[in-house]
Every structure is written in structure tokens, then in C-alpha cells.
Symmetry: C2
Subunit: 295 residues, 2 copies
């Protein structure tokens, strides 16, 4: 009987899966909806299985093979112990390992060996690997963390717009444009802010980079502050990895480099592969020897 | 028939009332529960009437006099038009005027004449009066405003605690103590932050002032930043009032002065009276002549 590996990359907006043979060659991909194991664990379980079955079908294989496959899952929210136990007991695979979505991203980006990734998207987290130890820096969420993240950048842009409206700070093209989006009525912007999730704030982050590149002083001030926070986290990461390779991932990865300190810019490498490739590589190293035995 | 004036100070935690004679001499006080006209208008209406009736009883008068009294109400959330129309149509008084809770506080603190108040509590708002015009600066709420407020100070202290935990910033006695409050388990602090309302963050603001006075560098950095925002808002207020009198109100009023710029410190005056006294003074000036006529 052929043995298969499954890699899963599950997050708050979608769940992706890859199926590979015992040698780690990817045969097919699948995708489904949100896999937020903290807020909706049963939906997450359903979407993990759905993505895995789709990957088998995509590979021209029977979807029933999910039950005999060995899976390596990178899931957002994996740091909540009770949740992981609940999920782990209900997965459809023969064997499963749950790690963070960030860790499979690191494996994909850097392959084996030391180094670090900074994941700069709606949130922000920094992951460093040195020998066999893995360190997570930041990633505490929007309310009291995620400095430098898209959500924080967007929120800061709205704050600055209100300061400009009140004539506390000088207006800039960006603050004028943002106020215009809310019909120049601050109560509308305030209403938005009360309902907004991090991703809603994050949608304004690209504005900040756009306007900064056009010389907008307020946008540049926000980015200087945010890049300073990212630089500080990267200093810590650099300590942990002896100044080794660094890879930026996430939606803001291509936008941040010009604003980072030279000491970090010169360490940047492009990602070797994506998170699913990382998950399959980890599945192979995790289950490789047991698969040898079972053949 | 004797004529009576009612002053109301209604906010999210309680509603207070004063009853006065036609000359504005306060005869009694009353208090009841929350009067948040935005989130619970009917409860607010009930508590406004309850506080007013209690004030008449406290003055040794019949509580049925509420229906013939003329009222001046300072209510949080008065800037939402629909809400004010709803409340206004249902108040039990013979005549009513609704203004912001901040405006009656300004009237109480400064009496007649030009000047400004900075209300620094869980939130922050700045109100300037020059001749007959009144300007509101800030006060946009926790999510994208209220810079320098207690809620923001508390939130910043928790952010710094996580930066210290991650060794991104050096620890300080304050960050160590705050982490200790959450059993040195960041996920507990994160869980708190996800559930916290502005007032919950605000409970940590006094820590920042306490530790800053003991030389804590992180606490002092937070206060320097926050006081800078308050100074910037006060610069705008100073423009509007030609550098006139300035009064700090709210829970942080006595804590902030040492951190403010000298140009603002030298304009500070102590409040002449409280918000209810302001509401009664405004009731007298609003209804005074009509009361003369009706006698």
C-alpha cells in the first residue's frame, strides 16, 4: 500500500492542503474555508478534512486515502493547549502533528538550518530557529501586541486622520484622503473603528506605504515608528540566530525592506518555498523512518 | 408656585442630579445608576428621572415637582443626533436642554468667561470656550482616539510588558510587576486584553504614574509620549482661547501636571466648582428670564 503525507496550512481565512508521496514529492493541492481552531474548532476540523480530500482528488487519488495519511499541520492558534488537544483527537489522519502556521512558513522559507522569519501581515510575529530550538517573538495579537503589523499601521493612520481633523497635527494628503473615505465625518470613522476587526484596520496599511512613497510626511512618520519596532524585534531575533538568514513573509513583506535598518536589510533572503512545502518537508522528516518501517 | 431648576450630570457609570431654586441656589442632590444614552437610552431615561426625584426628596420637597422643573442636562454621548432627539422627547421635565457632560464640567470649573478644560480620565477630551463658541477637540474614543487617556496609558503599559517578556525591550520594575499580575503568563494577559473595555485598561494607568515617580524608565517613556500628545492638544486649545485659563479634570487631572510642558503648566487653574454646579448655572442662564415672566 502506498503511503502518503499531508501538509496543512490553516488560518483564519482559509485552509490549504498538499498531498505528497513518501519521498515528499507534492502530488496535489486542495483548499477550503477558514480553519480558526480557537474561535470555531469544529468548522476548522471540517475544513482541514475538506482541503485534504480535495488535495487527494487533485492528485488523481481516492479521497478515502486521507484516513491512512500522515499529516503535519501548521495551524494558527496552536499555542492554546486545550484547543490543540480537542483538534488532535478528532483529526481524520492516521497520524498527526500540530505546529504553528508560522513554523511551517519558516521551514518553507528557509528549508533546514538556522535562520529567522518575520511574518508581517495583519498581525506580526517573529520566529527564530537555532539548532533544534525554535523561539517565538511577539505575535500576541492586535490589542496589546503585533507592533508593526498591518492592523496597527492602519489604526495609526486613522488616529493621525483625527488628529489632523482636530488641527492638533498638520493634515497630509493621506489624512485628507482617509477622512474623505468617511465623508469627512469623524463619527463615521469612529463607528467603523468600534466595529473593526484587525483585518479591517489592516486594509488601510497599503495606503500608508503608498503615501509614504509619495513623500507624505504623516505616512513616513508612521512607518518610521513601525519600522523601528520591527527593527527592535529583529535585533532580538538576530541575537538568537547569530545574525543569520532572515526572511520576510506576509502581505507587507515586499513593502517593509526600504524602511528597515541596514543591519537587517543586508541579512534578507528570499523565501525558498511556501508554507505547504515546509509542512510536507516536516511531515517527511517526522514520519520518514516510521514509513520506511511500515513498507 | 415656586419654580425649580434641575441640573443633571449623566455618564456611563452613574447619573447625578441637583435641584436649585430660581436663583440657582442648590437645595439638594440625588444619584442613580448609569445614564449611557447611546447604549441603553431607556435605562438612561429612568436613571435621569430617578436621580432628579431623589434630589427633590433630598431637598425636603415633593418629588412630583420634577414635572414642572426646568432642566439642564450634561450627558455623555450627546453628539449622536438621533439619540438626543429620542431622549429629549421623553424627559419628564417641563423644559430640557441637553448638552455634553464635558460642557457642564467646563462651566462648573471655569464659571463664565473664556478658557478650556482637559478631561483626562478613562478617555480624553479637550473643550475650549471663546466668547460664545465652544470647540471640542479629541474625545473620539479608545479605538482611534483618546490619546493620553488612562485607557491608552494602561494599554501601553501592557504592550511594554510583552516587549520586555520577549526581550525586545529591557524589563523594568513596572513591566515585571505587570507580568506578575498575570502569573508571568503572556497568554493570560492577551486573554485579558481581548475582553478588556477601556475602563479595564485604564485601571493600569495609576501604575504608570506610580512607577514613573519611582524612576521607572519604561513608565517614564510612556508618560513622556502621552504627555506629548496632551501638550499637542493643549497647543490647539491654547490657540482657540488665546492662551487663556486651563483646567484639568478627570481621574488623571492631579497626576499629569509634572509631565506637561511649562507653557501649559503656567496656565493651570484649579476648578471653581463641579459639573452639577455648572449645570445649575447653565439652567439659570438658560431659563432665568422665562422664569421671571412666569412668576
Amino acid at each position: 500500500m502506498r503511503e502518503f503525507l499531508i501538509g496543512i496550512d490553516g488560518g483564519g481565512t482559509s485552509c490549504r492542503a498538499a498531498v505528497a508521496d513518501a519521498e515528499g514529492r507534492i502530488l496535489g493541492y486542495g483548499k477550503s474555508g477558514a480553519a480558526n481552531i480557537m474561535t470555531a474548532p469544529d468548522t476548522a476540523l471540517a475544513n482541514i478534512e475538506k482541503a485534504a480530500r480535495a488535495a487527494f482528488l487533485n492528485a488523481g487519488l481516492s479521497e478515502d486515502l486521507v484516513n491512512s495519511a500522515r499529516a503535519y499541520l501548521g495551524l494558527a492558534g496552536n499555542n492554546v493547549e486545550d484547543t490543540v488537544a480537542y483538534i488532535s483527537a478528532r483529526l481524520p489522519f492516521a497520524e498527526s502533528t500540530i505546529e504553528s502556521d508560522g513554523f511551517i512558513a519558516l521551514q518553507g522559507a528557509l528549508g533546514d538550518g538556522d535562520g529567522a522569519v518575520a511574518i508581517l501581515g495583519t498581525g506580526s510575529i517573529f520566529i527564530a530557529r537555532c539548532d533544534t530550538s525554535v523561539h517565538y517573538i511577539g505575535g500576541w495579537g492586535y490589542h496589546i501586541g503585533d507592533l508593526g503589523s498591518g492592523a496597527r499601521l492602519g489604526q495609526m493612520a486613522l488616529v493621525e486622520s483625527l488628529l489632523a481633523y482636530d488641527l492638533i497635527s498638520p493634515p497630509s494628503p493621506m489624512t485628507t484622503a482617509l477622512l474623505g473615505e468617511f465623508n469627512n465625518e469623524p463619527p463615521k470613522m469612529v463607528g467603523f473603528s468600534q466595529r473593526a476587526k484587525p483585518g479591517d484596520f489592516g486594509r488601510y496599511a497599503p495606503y500608508v506605504f503608498d503615501y509614504a512613497s509619495q513623500g507624505d510626511q504623516t505616512a513616513n512618520r508612521i512607518l518610521t515608528l513601525s519600522a523601528g519596532w520591527v527593527d527592535a524585534a529583529l535585533d532580538r531575533v538576530s541575537d538568537l540566530t547569530n545574525g543569520g538568514r532572515l526572511c520576510l513573509l506576509g502581505g507587507l513583506a515586499t513593502l517593509y525592506p526600504p524602511y528597515l535598518a541596514e543591519r537587517h536589510r543586508e541579512r534578507l533572503v528570499v523565501p525558498a518555498a511556501d508554507a505547504l512545502t515546509g509542512a510536507i518537508a516536516l511531515a517527511k522528516s517526522t514520519y520518514g523512518s516510521s514509513m520506511e518501517r511500515s513498507r
